[in-house]
Symmetry: C2
Subunit: 209 residues, 2 copies
């Protein structure tokens, strides 16, 4: 049994490496793919991960200048390495459990994660958006981009499930205004969003405890 | 776009239902399978989910008598519906980020999630254990059961990844002292553990907001 976390991670990434070989990835892309596959325990993520050409650089630049990260659900906020982010000045925000959001969602008859994104509004400009659960949150961010000129630095959009998730991610993939990281189809989830964010943080600072 | 959470869930479970048809499941098992598949966006979970014969009843009975839930990582704690659990008197505990655990892990040269389980010790008797991430945490709980007569009510053990996860789950599946819910192979993760726990909570009380 291997009981050293960094050794577990290294060994895991070695096991994943052959599944990435045919994909012609850059080194930084490999880090993100590996961490996602590691988080899902599922090599079938390899062909469905989609990273737009400038997404990693945009995410790194945003974090380096102290950008905040906005998440759809508490599990994504929980998983992001906030200590690593804080070194650059950024914080993680999630509003889905706030009373303000609850009331707004009930009033507008929309989901809470959708309401939370609408209330974030201009705070999303230049920020990192990380959506791991709710298709409606991703649809709402894409609407803010299209209709209200909101401009996140990057959208990490990997909502999960059988109702709207694949469509919301296809819409993210189809637009070219905002750099993105996503996954095709129904798979995704909080650990996938967390994996992508933390992989980028570790590209900037690998001095983990 | 469907924007009512319960409608999204209902529609999702309808889409999942055909994949469960050949598995001859009881109604309560179907709920757990459906919620896991929903959380992963992955119907290939259907044949790999393993629920021991008395696991659901044991989990329900434990929660009804106010048992606590012990998790390996904060993401599992975050995702569990603590409001639903509290109605029965239980709370969710996770120690992985505690200084006590950090120091103990460094001293013993074991992982923090392993150290956390060892420090929980007798608190695990009669409790629900939910492990969504760390194989070492599951190995440690199984060691506590075998060597120290610790006896959780049920172990929900779905650690994820390529280093130890499949082995730890095979060991859980092979023992017959403690009822369990698990998943074969490398897949798993925090949302899977959360899905199983919350499915059981909703079997007991479906009055969600």
């Amino acid at each position: 049994m291997i009981t050293q976390p960094m050794e577990i991670e290294t060994r895991s990434f070695e096991i994943i490496a052959p599944y990435l070989e045919k994909l012609n990835l850059r080194e930084d892309e490999k880090k993100i793919y590996s961490r996602i596959i590691h988080a899902a325990g599922d090599v079938e993520y390899a062909p469905i991960i989609k990273i737009s050409a400038t997404a990693i650089d945009a995410a790194k630049a945003a974090i380096l200048r102290g950008a905040n990260i906005f998440t759809d659900v508490e599990m994504v906020r929980t998983g992001i390495n906030k200590r690593a982010l804080k070194k650059f000045g950024g914080e993680v925000f999630c509003k889905v459990a706030d009373d303000e959001v609850k009331n707004f969602a009930a009033q507008k008859k929309i989901t809470r994660s959708m309401a939370a994104m609408r209330i974030f509004g201009e705070n999303l400009n230049g920020a990192v958006v990380a959506i791991g659960n709710a298709p409606t949150a991703l649809f709402e961010v894409l609407r803010l981009v299209k209709e209200e000129n909101i401009s996140p630095a990057v959208i990490i959009g990997v909502p999960v499930g059988f109702v709207g998730a694949a469509d919301s991610k296809a819409e993210l993939f189809a637009q070219d205004k905002i750099p993105f990281i996503t996954v095709e189809g129904t798979k995704g989830g909080s650990p996938i969003a967390v994996a992508a964010v933390n992989a980028i943080l570790y590209l900037l600072d690998n001095s983990r405890e």
